[in-house]
Amino acid sequence: MTTTSAPAPSATEPALDVEGLCVDLNTASGTLRAVDGVSFSVRRGRTLALLGESGCGKSMTALSVVGLLDPAAEVTGGAVRVRGKDTLRMSAAERRKLAGPVLSIVFQDALTALNPVQPVGRQIGEPFRIHRGLSRRQAEEKAVELMTRVGIPEPRQRAKSYPHQFSGGMRQRLLIAMAVALDPDVLIADEPTTALDVTVQAQIMRLLRDLQDERDMAVVLITHDLAVVAQRADDVVVMYAGTVVENGPVHDVFSSPRHPYTRGLLDSVPEDAERGRPLPAVPGSPPELSAVPPGCVFQARCPLVRERCVRERPSLRSTGDGRSAACHFSEELDRA
């Protein structure tokens, strides 16, 4: 029961379909391309991970999908389709109708993501006030139910408390409760566990998984944590310098990466590290957005780099079995 007229997507049709998304950043020194032709799609019940280093454009991608970009950033191309419609071509009012019942987001820093001067119950009940026209009391009732569901002890009393009176893990639960309030088709989780203790991280990831199963949501998980991706995601999109360098089912991508960047990331996990031997790492750092080279974006750090990579940017081409990679020489990695 949502206020949008379009039917909920069927099992085969993607709940979220992003195609060729481009985002430009207007800075004092000119316009920079922060996201360059990113495509992915995710069905209900499935989890897609956007994996990459800080600044690779994964958060920017997420914010464009939910329409929360800062004024300095602008979507300049592509499509973001939910329920068969492109949200980028909608009016602000149409998009607001989707925000909550169809698309929802959880941020990493739950202290600043909750309004410090409002009781949490009111904030969690707010989606019901906005989209379902419930009274304040009815919305608070719903909030208490949601707080019970995400495991807040004594939810009725705690609904009247303020964010600073909760621990970090509890605040993250509150944010998740707020995000799933209206049973969205798609939940975007932007580094949902980064600011938390390891034990709490595991609890939060389990809660997200349970809620996803119970509500049949599509989850887009934005993270730089390879372990989280391996445990939690069905598919992975590896991003580098605003572009997708590789995508495919997590198991396949992680067992035989077809892009040297993915390979470098996986090699840098300290599995059999020996004391005294330096840990393997991808040398160098990603290019500045203002200095992304015309050829392959990864050329400066790539062990396979040769003349063609400097001249020509590899397109993301299918390598079979539902996978793609943006490398001229991905076959060499398969053989290695």
Binding site: L68, A99, L103, T112, L114, P116, V117, I130, H164
Partner: protein, 309 residues
Amino acid sequence: MVPFLRKRILSSAIPLVCVVLGVFFLARMTGNPVDLYLPLSATAEQRAEFSAAQGFDLSVPAQLWNYLVDAAHLDFGTSLRTGQSATSMVLDAFPVTLQLAGVTMLLAITGAVLIGSLAAYRPNSLVDRVASLLSMTAASIPDFWFAVMGVLVFGVSLAWLPTSGTLGGPEIWVLPIATLLIRPFGVLVQVVRGSMVSALSAPYVKIARSKGATPRRVIFGHALRNAVTPVLTVAGDLTVGLVNGAVIVETIFGWPGIGKLMIDSILQRDFAVLQAAVLLTAVTIFALNIIVDVCHALTDPRVRQAVPA
């Protein structure tokens, strides 16, 4: 809240005593009232008689003692000028000033919140630039110049508004309020804009938008209450300024408020009235500060929690 109030009131008492003492001694440095109230031809006996009647023949410490004893009985003496009790003169004048200041601040805060919020919603937009220019101008215009120009243009040339006095309909309020309003309004627009810009860029505003909240709900439901702390502090300060600075506006427009009463009492060496007026103003300022603190506690639960319940 009650212990918090008790503590604030007690901590205000010491500066209040200092104000009372300061005014007592400073007033007596303005000269001897006897010179002013008796004709130049008065004999030494007449002068001594007047001094004795008003208690000016005693030593200054003795005068202070008498003043404090009377003040403790809420008797603030009698006006030299009118023979009325100082208390009744001050209490007659005070509501006039309070009305002016109250209406002014109400208008200034309401207007500044609306315009400042609109400007902050889209920084660097046309609305924002116009609002910034106007508020900067408003905050910089000297009020006495504005008052005189207002009288000249609207009172004399166009003859739309009365130039002074408190008799007549609502039009008598226009020029005094406009004069008092212009600076607080300009300052408050800038403060509201500044703190709204930072509140609107906070993650909780993004979250509110991700729930489908309309711009109005985002601004007034989420951002404003977070942005209000600096606005309250500055508004409190400006109100104090209005109560104090009403002197100019009341003099120009002939409003019989506390500011005009104070100026007249100083010029006439009417010590009892001056002391009573300053004491009441000081008490008002301390009360305003306490009200601002209470407002902070009401709007921000984190402040409330820091106060022992």
